[in-house]
Symmetry: C3
């Protein structure tokens, strides 16, 4: 909750801006949760519960969903200090009419009952969207997603390419690619043709972005046709690196020819904690630099690169590269940097040094629509406080101008940059 009056006023105004959420993991065919298990099954909660000692077995597929909820709730009082806990509390209050100020294991049955009842209502999705003031939602689609069966005007497809760049050596990925495109991607020409088919398929279905997450040591360079051909045929670690560079570069070329921005989510090491819960195994190495992407930014001046960094320490690089490179755009506050302490300092620097036209303020990264509200509220509160302190009180902007800046960050820049 904000306790500064001016910030609160700004927050109230900012909440009127309809959100276009430019990065989520929503399943458009089942966008909302059906019960509390689908809320507390979010990896943020299972990770934290596991981190304070919960046995992973209590989350196993065979377990009764209410028992899974109980297991997480039981451990929650050991992490009720966290921003993640606050998201859940805000969901319970905003959507489930929960009235108390703390959640305990004693609330489990009531919460589960209420959730099942409300989330089963036929207009639940519409209600959540309306209450959250969310208008459109970007998806994260596997490359072989048929992209049918949902409203692509509300749920905007986005081609996720991690598998193509880092796992094309795996037979199952090649098979999925062959099946999706009708092309056997056995050599460079085949791969190029197959990727082209994917871009055609995605843009025909309204896709507005290509996206990928990248490890901290990724440092792509163009590779020649011959090098890539040899690497595709090979199978050692060096071949895999050359493949990832060549395929990544090919994706950038397709972004250029199809007019799609390329979202780069930089800095994640996968599977670091081997025994972690599902999706709770990835961490990072702060020793990474955007200099690794200088060749890319130079080679594709016409492709907007929407950059997320995992380590807040890299934010100053992002600020500086966005200030200099016309095609580099700041893109939200990702994952381990998506807590108030880091959002606040990263956002302040961006607002002071990156042209306002080149900032995409936030995305929710959510798996279920219910998380849009608490996550965007967290961001809106931080934004409102910074606008109050750094812009309005210092007489840089009027209140109205400050709200206009917020509108750019939350809506207008998304529309313009992604051509929505």
């Amino acid at each position: 909750m904000l306790y500064d009056r001016l910030a609160q006023d700004l927050y109230t105004e900012i909440c009127h801006v309809p959100i276009i959420d430019p990065h989520t993991h929503i399943d458009p065919r089942r966008p909302t949760a059906r019960n509390l298990d689908e809320i507390l099954g979010y990896h943020y909660y299972t990770e934290l519960a596991h981190s304070v000692g919960m046995d992973k077995g209590r989350l196993a597929p065979g377990v009764d969903p209410r028992d899974r909820v109980r297991a997480v709730l039981y451990h929650m009082d050991q992490f009720d200090n966290t921003a993640q806990y606050e998201w859940f509390l805000e969901i319970a209050r905003a959507f489930l009419n929960f009235q108390n100020s703390r959640l305990t294991i004693g609330d489990c049955t009531w919460l589960c009952d209420t959730a099942e009842q409300l989330m089963g209502l036929p207009d639940w999705e519409a209600r959540v969207l309306q209450q959250s003031n969310i208008e459109k939602v970007f998806l994260t689609n596997d490359f072989d997603d048929p992209l049918t069966g949902f409203d692509t005007n509300r749920y905007i497809p986005c081609l996720r390419t991690d598998d193509l760049v880092f796992h094309l050596d795996k037979p199952e990925v090649r098979q999925r690619l062959a099946k999706a495109t009708g092309v056997e991607a056995g050599d460079v020409a085949g791969v190029r043709k197959a990727l082209g088919k994917l871009f055609e398929h995605f843009t025909r279905h309204g896709a507005k972005a290509c996206a990928i997450s990248l490890p901290p040591d990724f440092s792509p360079s163009p590779v020649s046709e011959q090098e890539l051909g040899r690497a595709l045929a090979g199978d050692d670690a060096a071949d895999r690196v050359v493949c990832s560079w060549g395929l990544f570069w090919m994706l950038a070329e397709y972004c250029r020819s199809f007019g799609l921005p390329f979202d780069l989510m930089i800095g994640v090491n996968r599977q670091v904690y081997e025994h972690g819960v599902d999706q709770g195994r990835d961490l990072f190495d702060q020793r990474t630099s955007l200099i690794q992407y200088a060749k890319l930014f130079n080679a594709f001046p016409g492709v907007p690169f929407c950059i997320s960094v995992l380590a807040s320490g890299q934010n100053q690089e992002l600020v500086s590269y966005s200030w200099i490179f016309p095609n580099v755009v700041t893109f939200g506050h990702w994952w381990y940097s998506n807590i108030p302490a880091y959002v606040e300092q990263d956002l302040r620097a961006r607002l002071q040094a990156v042209p306002k036209a080149k900032q995409i303020g936030y995305y929710s990264d959510m798996y279920k629509l219910e998380f849009g509200l608490p996550k965007y509220n967290m961001y809106r509160r931080i934004l409102a406080q910074i606008l109050a302190d750094d812009f309005v009180r210092t007489r840089v902007y009027t209140e109205a101008q400050a709200v206009e800046l917020a509108r750019l960050l939350l809506r207008d820049n998304v529309r313009r940059i992604f051509n929505v």
Copy 2:
């Protein structure tokens, strides 16, 4: 001094929590200073005085202790802006009844006289502990410390292992080890046996932790018995690296079998400033990552690793690794990060993203008990202000709940994690 009323109220309450200080360099046989020279001989003061131009010769062993004090005090007006100066001022006020707001060279005689008089009182130790509200104090014991002659209930032994991991190639260290354990550690079996004896000796005398400080480039892996054997017999740089890995891993194994947490203080380069004062030669390289310890954290799920990082820039990694790994615990604010600007931002992030059960708030790192009060007060003030702004004013916690969180950080988590 705090000037925010709510923060001040919280601070007052937090000061009532009896401290268990989980890392110090106290000599339990002489825990307090006997004169001002033992206060200003702390390397924080000699470093800063030397940094502004004091000749090292003025600290030489043969010099009259009052002249050493005079030398440091004389230079103090060039660093009276620092947090370290504030610690000293708070000691002078709290323990020596100093009444002014600034300290100058003109106060030297009065301070020395008063210190000698008061510190010589038979109940000085008890007074200091009582006034500081410190109940127990962890030590840093050399591996060959007999651990006798003091109250191990108040002064809790802790096995410091830097010498074993990094200097076992030195004959004097091997001799000390042989003398302490009765084992000639000539090969892997011998080393293992000797280390086992140390763990037996330490735990028998109430040791509650094993601790080590590590350079920024340390990246330990398990090594096979054969590799370690070859490395122990060799003497080049590569051998020393393999030895350090193997011995470090062996310590982690013993922590597991003896049920001791392992304190890792990560990131110090020793002897960087060759001509520095005693203990004032060490610095760091910010280019380090907790990914270097991923294998370790995976291999020893049952060992609590209490992690201190030297560079504040690494705090986000620490926050994230503690959030994910059940056996990674945040551990205080170390050395160059132990100034308000860094404690504040590091602590805010921890409070927002690490389960409260997994945070050990602070340790003093002190050599003399008199430093517990000003150092803990600095931390308690920062903590109180963050609790006021981020928790109480935002209605996340009531004041009482905020004080309970402080109790966890300052006392209860230490008790539980170290089994005190």
Copy 3:
């Protein structure tokens, strides 16, 4: 604008301290702008305008200066959130009597007319200096600058050495050196003799510093006479590295013998954005450490090294190295770190942990005198707020003592350290 009363009072007092600006790019023979084009031609504006889509062609030399101004102003409303925009607005208000709170393209003609009229006045330079309260200004002189034709008491020469260290392999640089010194620098002895001539020439003309900017991966070591000789004769990448080390070390030796401080501006990668505007192509890699300079700091205890870091993340290293090494001094807030969000956190840490005698607060880095006022005002506001919150309100300093600290940072330390 400050809105905190105490901070504002401190700011007012701090503004009375006459500035000695220890690093600029002023041309002493034409220190002020003659028109608005020379204000908006500053790379901060051309970069930002280019970053939001302005065609570089609109800045070409043949273009009418008013059209260049119009091009930048036209794009300015897309970066009117930035600190750089604030600098320009403050120039327009302070020096051009601009009365509105926002600048738009509609103000172009009036601004251009007014600027031409006022900047053409014979006492313009004196007016700007007086209104900015700037007393002396350090320059950045090419090594072959004759250093004549200006008042070296007001405009203090400084030997810039990037060309010598990194480009001596280029024939034109060797020719310039030969012409400037009368020495053919064909071998080590020749180079040493030539550099000696430069130091004689510069110190004879009142130079007070030697300066250089360095890439993030620079890690100098002493090289033997023979090694340097071989490297000077060679022409591969390794030779160039050895040359840069040897020449850099030689400069440090001359700093020692001529009693000049050595300004090190650490961390810039040149020409990263190939298609950027003039001076808008340089960025950085956060992965750098002051440990790379440990040998240097140890080898030259008598040379003050005034250190600027490009990445705010390196500030803690700078704080710690300055706290420990007597010859390491913190030096301003450089370039990408010169925005309030980073100045604020970097300055707080310095004020808490670096002796006040060892901090040079700020430099403007300006090319035209008009920028001294808004840049120093930005710094003075941040400083005033920190002094209010961390020093005066906490009762560490009285207001008068806080202003004395500001005087050290802005004037007295510059005078003492650079012997002005």
